[in-house]
Symmetry: D2
C-alpha cells in the first residue's frame, strides 16, 4: 500500500523560525514546562471518526474528500485499509493518542453477531498496530446514535431491546478499551434526549439513563478497568434537547444516581458554546464541581448554531483554559482530543496534517503562556485579596456554621454594617492577561 | 386620594360576546374545571415591582410612565401612596394575590436601621390593606441585587459583610412574609453569578451560596413558616452568568447541599428561553425532578436576548404548560405570578389593566383547553403505548436491576435482538393538539 | 406497482367533527373566503426533495425511512419510481402544486451530457404525470449546492467553470419550468456565501452573483417565461454566511444590480428565524419593500440553531402572516410550498400525509382567522389613527419636501413643539388579536 | 477644582518592559507603521456618554460609580463640571479625539428653547476646551432616543411633531459639529424601529426615515459641512427591531433613497454580533459595498444577548479588522471611537484610564500585526491565486457580459466542463495568521 500522506515522514518541532508548514512551531514534546514535558501536559489525541470515517458530506451536500478507503464502507477489507491510513496519520503527525467509536473501526454488520465478530477482529488489528507504532488509546466509546435503532435514544429509548443492544455495544467497547490499554471510557448520549415533549416521559427516561450508567460503573469494576469513566455533555443536536446539557446538569444527574464519584466529564468546546457557555466557563465549572476529566479540543463558530467542530486556534481562550487545568493539577487520565473536522473544502490530504499541527501548536503555545501566567500569578493574587474577608473572623464564622440567619442579621444590625464594593478590576486584569499573551 | 384607575370598578367575567375590553372573556373565577374553580387552579398574582416601582425607563431611555407616586421615591409618604395604588389595582383587577420585594414596598434607607424601620412600618400598612381588601400574598422576597453593595453578589459576594447585609434583609423579608400569610418565599439570585472568571472563585462562591440557603431553611423552621421556599432560576442578566442557570442546574446545587427536599423552583418563562429552553421544557423538567413550585408567567421575545417580561399571550404554549401542571396535580402553594412589564409606550393607566386581563384570559383559556386535553388524554395514551416495552419482563428486569451490563449483553446476543423504531408520530400528535386548541 | 400510501384514496375535507386523522378539518378547497376559494388563496405546494429524496439521515445518523425507491438512487429506473410515488402523494394529499430541483427528479449523472439527458428524459415523465393528474408546478429550481463542484459556491465560485456549470443547470431548469407551466422560478444560493473571510473576495463574489442574476433575467425574457423569478433568502447553513441573508439584504443586492423589479423573494419561515427575525417580520418587510413573492411554509425550533424545517403548526403566527398577505392583495404567482421535513422518527408512510394535512389545516385556519381580522380591521384602524398626524398640514409638508431641516427646526422652535407620546396600546391589540384567534 | 484622575499626569508609551499599568505598552503615537504614525492610523476617540454621563446603573441595579459631577444632573453648573472632568480625561489619557451627543454635554431642558440655549452655551465651553487642550472632535450626534418623546422613534415617529423636534436637535448638533471642527456626523437610530408589527406601518416609517436622511444631506451641503455623514447600524435594543439592522440593510436603504454616495457606516463591534455577524464580517462587508466610514471599537459578550459595550481586547480579531481597514486605504475621516462601558464593579477612577489603555494597546498591537500581515501578504496571494480563473478568457468574457446564460451553457456543454474544487486551505491560512499573531 502506498502512503496517503506522502509529503511528510514525521511532523517535527522546528521552532518559530521555520518556513515549513508541516512542522511544529511551538509543540516540542520533550520541552519541560513547570516540571513536566509538553507531551505529558497536553496528552494529544486524534479522533478516528471525523478524520477517517467522514467523507466531507454535510446536510446539504455530497462527499468532497474522495477518501479511497471509504469506497467499500461496509466490509472488513475497507476497515483494515482505514486502520492503515489512521495509524499512518497518528505516527506521522506525532500525536501520541487516538480515540474511537466501536463502529468507526469496524463495520456495524447486519446483526448483533456480525457486530461482535467484526469489532472483535478489528480490535486485534488495532492491538497489533498500537504495539508496532507506540500509539496509545486515550479513550474508546460506543456509537449509540447513528444506527436507526437509536433514533429515539439508546439508554433512554422507549424500547428495552434498544437499551439492551446499546448495553451490548458498551460491554464490547469497554472490554476493547481495557484490552487496548485505554485510559478512559467515554459516554456521549447523542440521542439521549427528546425531539418532542408530546411523546416523551422525562422521568422514565431519566430513570433508564441512571440505571444504564450504574450498570456501566458495575461493569467497570467487574472487568477491572482502571481508567476513568467520562460523560460528554452536549445540549442539543442531533436531538432537540439532550439530557447531558452541560457540566452543571450532568453533575445533578450524577448526584441523583449516586454516581458523582464514578464519572467525570469530557468537555467539548463547541458543546459548551451551543449550551450558552464559554469554553472557559465549562472547564472552570467542571473543575469547581470536582468532575473535570478530559477535553474535546475544538471550536465552534460564534455565529452558527450547530457543531462546526473546527480546530482550536484561539490562543487567548486556550490559555485561560490551560491555566485552569494547570491550576487544578493538570490532566490525570484525560487529554486534549481533537474532535475536529476539516472544512468541507479542505480536500487535500495535507490539510489533515496542517489542521492538527495548527491545533497542537495553538495548545502548546497556550500551555507556555499559561505557565507564564502561573509564574507571576496575579490572577490568584487578585482572587486571594478579593475574597480575603472570608478569612476574617466574620467570614470564618459564617462558613463554619456559627451563625444562624437571624444571629447574623442581629450581628450586622448591631454593627451597623454598611459595606460598599471595591473595584473588581476586570479591565485591569484583562490588560494584564493580554500582556502575558502578547508581550 | 383620587383613583388612579377611574375607568373600572372591578374587572368582571363577561364572556366572549362582550365588547368591553376591561372585562374577562375567559377568566371566570368561580367556573369549575376538573372539579376545582378557575381561581383555585390559576392562583393569579400581580407583582409590585414592574407595576408600581418601574417608571418606564430602559437602558437607553428616560421614564415614560409618569407615575405620580414615584415622585418622592425615597420617602415613606411615597411608599404609602404607592401601596394605595397597588391595592386599588389588585382589587380592581380581580387578582387574588400579589408578590413583592422588601425594597419595592419600603424605601431602602441609608442604613441597616433605616431599612428595618421603613420596612417594618410598611409591613403594617400592607397587613392592614390585605385585611381590608382580601388580597393575599403569594410570596415575598428580598431584593439583593439593586443596591450597589450587591454589585458583586449577595450570598456569593467576596465580602462577608455583604453576605450579612443580605442575610439581614432575608430575615426581615421572611418574617414579613410569614406575618402577611405569604404562601411561599422566593430567592432570586440576580447577582449570584459572575462578570468575569478572571476575578472569581467559583468553588468559594458556591460554598457561600450553599451555606446561605441552608441558613434560610433553618430560619424557615425556626420561625415556623409553613410556606414553600422557592429558587428562581435565571441564566444571566444582569450578570454575565448566574449560578441558578436553569431547573436542572438548581437541582444539582440542591443535591450538593442536601436541600432537594427543602426548595422548589419558581420558573419564569422568559428565564427559560434565555437559558436556551422552551418554557414547556422548564416546567416539564422541574416536575420530573420533583422540584416544581410556582410560575412567573410572562414571555420573552424570541429575537431579543434580554428579559422583555411581556405578558403571556401564547395560548398554544400556555396550554401545554397548563397540561403538565394539571397532570402533576396542580399548584399547591404556587401560582401564576405576572412578572410582567408593560411596553414602554403603554403609557395609559388602563394599559396596566388591559395587559393583566390579557394574561389572565390567556391562562384561563389555556386551563380550559388543557382540561379538554386531559378529558381525552391521547398524549398520555401515546406515551403509555410508546413505553409499553418497559412493562414487559425484559423492561422490568432491567429496571429492577436484575441485569448486569454483561448479562444483558449476553441476553441480547443470544436472542439476536434486532430492534427497529416505530413511528414517534410527532406530527400526528401536533395535529391532535391543534385540534384541541382550535376546534 | 402497488401504492405507497394504501390507507387513503384522497384526503378530503370532513370538518372539525371528524375523527379521521387523514381528513382535513379546516382546508375546504372550494370554500369561499373574502371572495376567493381557499385553494386560490393558499395555493399549496409539496416539495420533491424532503418528501421523496430524503431518507431520514441526519448529520449524526443513518437513514431511518426505508424508502424503497431510493435503493437505486442513481439510475433512471429509480427516478421514475420516485416520480410515481411523488405523484401518488400529490394526488392523494389534494395538494394542487409541487416544486422540484433538477437533481431531485433526475440523476445528476457523471458528466454534463448525462445530466442534460437524464433531466430531459425526466421532464417528459413529469409532463405526462402533470397532464394525467392535474397537479401543477408552482416552481422549479436548480440544485447548485449538493454536488462537490459547488463546495465553494456556484455563481460565486472562485472557478468560472463552476459558474458555467451552474449556468447550464439553470438554463435547463428554467426551460423545464417553462415547459411544465411553472408559475415561478426560484434561486436559492445555498453555497453562495463564505466559510472564511481569509480566502474570500467579497466584492468579486458579489459582482459574479450580480452578473449571474442579470443573465437569469435575460434568459427569462429570451425564452418568454412569464412566471416570477424568486430569490430565497437564508442567512447561513450550509455556509458560515450566505449572501442572501434576509429580505432587506436581498433588496440592497437587487438595487445594486438594477434588478429590484425583476426578482421577488421566496420567504422561508425557518430561514427568517435563523436570520434573527420573526417569520412575520420577513413577510411584512418584503411586502413593504415591494418584493414579496412566495412562501416556503415551515417552522424552525426556537431553541435549535439549524434548519429543522418542521411543519407549520402555529396558527397564531400564521394568522398574522396570512393577514399581511391578504392585505397586500394575496399571492399572484406565489403560494405556500411546504419546504418541510418529517421528524426522523416519523417512519410510517402515513406520517407524510398526516404532516401535510396538519400544515394545510393550520394555514386554512389561519386564512379564516385572518379574514375575520380583516372584516373588523381594528389593526388597520389603529394604524390609521396612530399615524394620523402625517395627514395634517405639518405631516404632508414634511413628506412633500416643503421643509428643509433648518426650516423645520425653525418651525418647531417658533411653535414651541413639546410632543408627548400617546399609548402604543400593544397589549390591547394583542388581546384583540387573541380574541379573534380563540373566541 | 481638584483632579478626578490624580494618579497620572499623562499616559505615555513605555514599551512592554514597563510595570506601570498606567502606561502604554504598544501605543506609541509617533511610531511609524507602513509610512504613517500610529496616531494617524488609529485616530482614537473617547466617548462622552458612557464615560461621563453614566453612573453605573443597569436595568436591575442602582448607580455604583459615585461620579460627583452627576449630582446636579440637570443644571448647567453640572454640565460644566462634567466637561472639566471629560477634558481632564481626554488629555491625561492621550486620546486625541472625542465624540458626543448634544444631550451628553448640555441639559436637555424643559422646552425646545431651553434645549437650544443650554446646548449653545455648552458648545462655547467645548470650543474653548478644545482650543486649550488640542483635543479634537471625531464626531457629534444628536440623542433622539432617550427622551420620552422618542419612545416611538424620531424620524420614524407616528407623530410629525416628534420628527420636527428630532430635526431641530439634528440641525443644532450638525451646526455644533461643524463649528467644533468635527470630522464626521453620526446618526444612530436607537428607536427607529418597532416594538410590535401590530401597530406599525413599515412602509410609512421607511419613507419618513428616507426623507429625514435626505434633509440631513441637504443641510450638510447648505452649511458647508465637509465631514462625513455616518449611519450606525444596530439590529435591536432598545427596540425589538431596528431598521438600520446591519451594513447590508443600511446599503439597501441608502440605495432606495439615492443616498449611497452621501452616507457611510459607523460600525460597532457589539452591534455586529447582536446582528448575527462577526465584527470582521461587518467591516469587510461595508468595505466591499464602498460604505465603510468609522468604527465604534468595543466588544460584546458571546453569551449575552445585549449590548455589553466592553473594551476591545481580542487582539486576534482586531488584527483581522485592522488588516481589512489598512487594505482599503485606512481611515479617512473615521477613527476608532471607544463606545465602551466600564464593568459596573469597576468603581475606581483609575479603571477608566486602565480600560482605555487596554483598548488602545490592543488596537495598537493589532495595527502592528496587521502591518506584518501586509508585509508578507499571503492572504492576498491566496485570494489572487484562488480567483485566478476569473482572469482567464472564460472568466473575463463572463464578467464582461459576453455570454448569455444559454451561450455559456452551450459552451460548458460543448467543452464538457467537469470542474472539481481545489482545497480552500482554510486551516493552513489560520495557522499562518496565528504565526503572525503569536510568533
Amino acid at each position: 500500500m502506498t502512503a496517503y500522506f506522502p509529503n511528510v515522514d514525521k511532523v517535527k518541532y522546528e521552532g518559530t523560525s521555520t518556513n515549513n508548514p508541516l512542522a511544529f512551531r511551538h509543540y516540542d514534546p520533550e520541552q519541560k514546562i513547570l516540571g513536566k514535558s509538553m507531551a505529558e501536559h497536553l496528552r494529544f489525541a486524534a479522533c478516528y471518526w471525523h478524520n477517517f470515517c467522514w467523507d466531507g458530506a454535510d446536510i446539504f451536500g455530497q462527499p468532497t474528500f474522495n477518501r479511497p478507503w471509504l469506497a467499500g464502507e461496509n466490509d472488513m477489507q475497507a476497515a483494515k485499509a482505514k486502520a492503515d491510513v489512521a495509524f499512518e496519520f497518528f505516527e506521522k503527525s506525532s500525536i501520541p493518542y487516538y480515540c474511537f467509536h466501536d463502529t468507526d473501526v469496524a463495520p456495524q454488520g447486519n446483526s448483533i453477531d456480525e457486530y461482535i465478530n467484526n469489532f472483535s477482529e478489528m480490535v486485534d488489528v488495532l492491538e497489533a498496530k498500537q504495539a508496532s507504532s507506540g500509539v496509545k488509546l486515550l479513550w474508546g466509546t460506543a456509537n449509540l446514535f447513528s444506527h436507526p435503532r437509536y433514533a429515539a435514544g439508546a439508554a433512554t429509548s422507549p424500547d428495552p431491546e434498544v437499551f439492551s443492544f446499546g448495553a451490548t455495544q458498551v460491554v464490547h467497547a469497554m472490554n476493547a478499551t481495557k484490552r487496548l490499554g485505554g485510559e478512559n471510557y467515554v459516554l456521549w448520549g447523542g440521542r439521549e434526549g427528546y425531539e418532542s415533549l408530546l411523546n416523551t416521559d422525562l422521568r422514565q427516561e431519566r430513570e433508564q439513563f441512571g440505571r444504564f450508567m450504574q450498570m456501566v460503573v458495575e461493569h467497570k469494576y467487574k472487568i477491572g478497568f482502571t481508567g476513568t469513566l467520562l460523560i460528554e455533555p452536549k445540549p442539543q443536536e442531533p436531538t432537540k434537547h439532550q439530557y447531558d446539557y452541560d457540566s452543571a446538569t450532568v453533575y445533578g444527574f450524577l448526584k441523583q444516581f449516586g454516581l458523582e464519584n464514578e464519572f467525570k466529564v469530557n468537555i467539548e468546546a463547541n458543546h459548551a458554546t451551543l449550551a450558552g457557555h464559554s469554553f472557559h466557563h465549562e472547564i472552570a465549572t467542571a473543575i469547581s464541581l470536582g468532575i473535570f476529566g478530559s477535553v474535546d479540543a475544538n471550536r465552534g463558530d460564534a455565529q452558527n448554531g450547530w457543531d462546526t467542530d473546527q480546530f482550536p486556534m484561539d490562543v487567548s481562550e486556550l490559555t485561560l483554559v490551560m491555566y485552569e487545568i494547570l491550576k487544578s493539577g493538570g490532566f490525570t487520565t484525560g487529554g486534549f482530543n481533537f474532535d475536529t473536522k476539516l472544512r468541507r473544502q479542505s480536500t487535500s490530504p495535507d490539510d489533515l496534517l496542517l489542521a492538527h499541527i495548527g491545533g497542537m501548536d495553538s495548545l502548546a503555545l497556550a500551555l507556555k503562556k499559561a505557565a507564564k501566567l502561573i509564574e507571576n500569578d496575579f490572577l490568584a493574587e487578585k482572587i486571594k485579596q478579593r475574597y480575603s474577608g472570608w478569612n476574617t473572623d466574620l467570614g470564618k464564622q459564617i462558613s463554619d456554621g456559627q451563625f444562624t440567619l437571624e444571629s447574623l442579621a442581629n450581628h450586622a444590625t448591631s454593627k451597623g454594617f454598611s459595606p460598599s464594593i471595591s473595584s473588581g478590576q476586570q479591565e485591569y486584569l484583562e490588560n494584564q492577561v493580554n500582556g502575558v499573551l502578547f508581550d
